[in-house]
Amino acid sequence: MEIITSAKPLFAILVSLIATILIIITGEKARNLREAWTIIASIVKFTIVASMLPDILNGRVIEYTLLAITSELVLQFKVDAIGIFFAFTASFLWIITSLYSIGYMRGLNEHAQTRYFAYFAIAMSATMGVAFSANIFTAFLFYEIITVSTFPLVAHKETPEAIKGARKYLVYLLGTSVAFQLTAIIITYNVAGNLNFLTNGVFHDNISHNLITLTFLLYIAGITKAAIMPLHSWLPAAMVAPTPVSALLHAVAVVKTGVFMIVRVVLYIFGIDILKSLDLGTVLAYIASFTIIAASVIALRQDNLKLRLAYSTVSQLSYVVLGVALLSPSGVMGSIMHIVAHAFGKITLFFTAGAIYVATHKTNISQLDGIGRQMPFTMGAFTVGALSMIGIPPFAGFLSKWYLTFGALESDQLIVLAVLAVSTILNACYFMPIVYAAFFKEPKIDKHNLHETLDKRTLKEAPAIMVIALVLTAIGTILIFFFPSLFLQLAQIVVTNTTGGY
């Protein structure tokens, strides 16, 4: 594999850190300039990430060593196919989310907007850091920075409820990462003497199987950002955050960091061979299967729209985990594809939830009867997102489900096949009633407030900038289905390198 040395990954990380400083300096006095920094940073970041694509697609790898803190703890970046896959998705969606955020924050006249944009930029910086980490130490460092920098975003409203949610968020994410993930990393270092992500894993053959099993379980328990049950309940708690935060961070950046790290650990720390021989993939697959079903069932019972979306996220994240746990080429392929498919679909859904809230201040599903007539673009996008989640063509979600199903067949896991089928039905059960109610049910007549009821028949969308953002992501969901070649190529490189191809 050809290796190029370039500081581009570092620049991709630094861009939004510099933006943070500019945002803080500019502050509330010049709001337009402050927002301009965010937009510029997001575009520059995306451009830098995109400029690395051609090299990666040609099978090259970009490396950059920032600092060797000690001989074994090195801050090092490596851009490979899976890293750029994640970074590309996240940095692209940051541009759209930035637009959406501006509409949302101004539409609601939120307080502490400077803090909001500043920490948002730090979180995106750290997300790039995780995507481009060359070893688990660097990844851990950025993983923790994400946790800490998103804490102020979750606590944004500063109400007792928000602080309670943020506290839970922190206890779960920071607690498990220090207690389990760090321990796992230290054990890895002790037995393997190497923390780098290698395509065949770092463990030698002569290491005790019990120790490997223990380390594997510690990693799974320590990467709580993947929201694998039973360590998932921070994610619904984080829904107290403003909706753009839920949309980009708790549907894309933060949670995808979690599943991305799981994929990294499975493929590049342990390697497929060792996990296959110890049958640990199956264990992980069953845990993920349980999460998929259980979270979907819980989602059915939620009336709060954002909570339903949160449980749906918990369930969908485990698709990614499940795919890689199958340890088969198609499984890995499906797993990686689901990172982008779910990202586009779920961000659209969260965007619509936010748009509904800004336009009507409604948060519950039972209040949404007939809202489709009032907000046709928003609910149209919602329908696209929902169908993609269910996995119907021509939406992105179909692609990943297709590969996942193949993966289940390849590794003869009929139970997994059943899980996928049941989960599809459950997805339909908790999404379709919303679509149905929005378009086909009559608005509830509120006798005390007749004027408002009459209003419901006229067009009343959220601010244009928000609608544009959510329509764009909805279109993205469709475009990925028709033009998936970029993503497929990248995923293909990962599959070839780690599993030896089909």
């Binding site: 000690t70 801050l75 460092l141 923790e144 800490v148 102020p152 602080i163 220090v178 230290i186």
Partner: protein, 493 residues
Amino acid sequence: MNLSEHSSILIVVVPLIASFLNVFIGLWRRSLCYPLFLLALVICGFLSIDLIQNIINNGTIRYKLGGWMPPWGIEYVVDHLNAYVILIVSFISLLVAIYSKRSLEKELEESKLPYFYSTYLLLVTGLLGITVTGDIFNLFVFLEIASLAGYALIAIGENRSVLASFNYIIMGTIGACFYLLGVGYIYIITGSLNMLDIAQLLPKLYESKVTLAAFAFLVVGVAIKIALFPLHRWLPDAYTYAPSAVSVLASATMTKVGIYVLIRISFTIFEPNFSKDIIPAGTILVWWSTIAIIFGSILALGQIDFKRTLSYILIAEVGYMVLGVNLGNKEGFIGAVLHILNDALMIACLFMVTGGIYYYLKSRNIEDFVGLNKKMPLSMASFSIVALSMIGIPPTAGFFSKWYLIIGAIKAEQWIAVIALLFSSLVNAIIFFRILEKIYFKKGNSTKDINVKEVPVSMLIPILILATSVILVGLFSGKIISSIIQFTVPGGF
């Protein structure tokens, strides 16, 4: 005469002379006291840099006091370990001196200032003396100078500090007596007080009961001085009620110097294999310090007064260092020595911020910290950085010492110690995020915070320097280890 040759003695003599001068100058012209005080500490800072450069380039320095040949005369022996600790002590005491100017304004009558500066310099003299000397009795003398100055400085504080200081005197004196008894036993059987000399004479006498008793007295004596749980009872009161500047100095330097003495006893006076193979002292201390870590952390959780919280955290951190020293492998030892530096920086910064909050708010109660980020943004930013380091989040310094300590504990197969270290990180996370939450997200209460603003510049600068160095030391810990700490690891590890 080449001054550099004498820097190991000058670093003790300069603050000692300045201390006496200060009293007399104070009688004549009080305004000159502070410049003199600062000058002495700046000179100490330069001398400590000179020392460490000298040692990195030329190796161990042996300085014979008054030209008397050891083991009859007193000898100062400075190697990488002393030079490292001297550097820490000099710099922290200089920063605290800068900090103390404004901080004392509100906590001490002006007429007492010259005495304060003198006593402060005496404490520094004592600490530096303990670190440079190669003579165990001379060490006792400096230990007492430092302790007595410490008692006096603590008693200067608010009303309850007198009682706290009295408790400290009782415990401290018992500790000093134990140490002296140990020195006495060693003198009885070897007839020598010079550390290197004793180190050559002792191995033949390892089986003797007297040697065992001496070791036990020395270790327990030092354990009291460093407040190793459950011998810690004097510390929380003393450090809570002392003036802010004194809390900073004492917490950041006194326990660290104590750890240094412990290392000297275990690995210079006695050979490393004594506490490993001949008696299970290393194992006992590992368990002992594991308990200290766990209990220190738990007790820290329950405190309302933030200085008291910090005191208990310090007790847990002392456990870290004692643990690392006694794990009996290279990684653990490196972790402990690195933690001497990290802990000094972190604890000093936290106590300074607490003092800064107290400066306007007149409260150390955690409940009153609500909404402080708006009033004291820079102090609170520093506080946050150090809090992350305390939890052990990379790339702050705290992560790296913890990394080595945990690897050391795993290599030594001390699983309970591994769990204790992680447990204490988690407890720190709870403690600090509970406070950060108050500082950043709780709505301010209207009565108490009216006049609160950012601390004066001369208090803020040391805080910022410490917070920045927490990050820099973290990023360059590899360099620090390869140029200094790896040479401090005792042979046979």
